[in-house]
Symmetry: C2
């Protein structure tokens, strides 16, 4: 795939929550042209440790007037609002958009599965995790970035990461989604995605 | 004042609210380096038609680690959450930061005062409005922008508007504060600031 400098990308991250008090948290989608200009911001609510993140992402994206211009989804990791897990195949089939999930540290799938054991509906979560695409890495000029992708090829995924990791190893759409999500749920943004 | 390309600016706008239901709405502050990079997002709640917007802006800005790097505040107009009015002098004296308020259409002060008549504490609001700095305009490459400023000089205000109105006549910090505020309160951003 030829990556245009102004390719429309939506970056997604979740807000802060307190597991003891909150039943839900916000997810934020930031629509970028390439790595520079912000075209829009979307939001929705998801259940903590629920199973609704995929439906809520689909709903949020289908409702925006930018939907038909979007070419790719980038997410901060694969779980939101605790253990509410992204289902790559389901998102792709419903939105017809490839997904790239990025993280700063190499994910430890075994640890991840052990953590899932402590949450309700363990088997359902394990089934989703077992279907996850393999973990790749790419060395940006700011350091190593780990990623998983679905609905596109490795070259395209790397080209999109290259284009968007201009100010940090974290691609701009995901970095800004993180900053917005923290800013609106905590009152200030702090900490890296 | 010499304007550095990476000057730290906070752009402020308020969220959507329904006057019949809501008692408060969100204000969003987006911290920019010049017109390009976002360094942080802040938020706070203000009363609809209240008098707390100045305290809430001061509180929000004093609490961020970016405070000592900030050089200027830009706001979308002079009233937030209905008729909760910016007090230029009060903000400047408490934060030691100049303020530039920008709007797309020339403000009509007489109409504004008539509208204020319908809200409680009319005289208090009129006193604030009567203290407002004069209205200037600057023709950006996208069209005319009206603005008021306090705590700096006309040249500096124009230079900052020039630097930041790169993608629209509305300076980037204010444009993005608007998009974020709408995105988190309505679920999607639509409409121009």
């Amino acid at each position: 795939m030829d990556i245009k400098r102004e390719i429309r990308i939506i970056g997604i991250d979740d807000g802060y929550f307190n597991k003891k008090i909150d039943k839900e948290t916000i997810i934020i989608g930031v629509i970028f042209r390439g790595y520079k200009q912000i075209d829009g911001v979307l939001s929705n609510k998801i259940e903590i440790d629920g199973f609704d993140v995929n439906e809520k992402i689909i709903d949020m994206i289908k409702r925006t007037t930018h939907y038909n211009q979007l070419r790719i989804i980038m997410t901060n990791g694969v779980s939101f609002g605790g253990f509410n897990l992204i289902d790559f195949k389901y998102l792709y089939n419903n939105l017809n958009l490839p997904i790239i999930s990025v993280v700063r540290k190499r994910p430890n799938i075994e640890k991840f599965k052990l953590a899932a054991k402590k949450i309700h509906n363990y088997q359902k979560r394990i089934d989703i995790i077992n279907n996850y695409p393999e973990i790749n890495f790419y060395d940006t000029m700011y350091g190593r970035l780990f990623f998983q992708y679905y609905g596109t090829d490795l070259d395209t995924a790397i080209n999109i990461i290259k284009l968007t990791s201009k100010y940090s190893r974290i691609p701009e759409p995901v970095r800004i989604a993180h900053i917005v999500a923290m800013g609106v749920t905590r009152g200030y943004s702090r900490g890296k995605p």
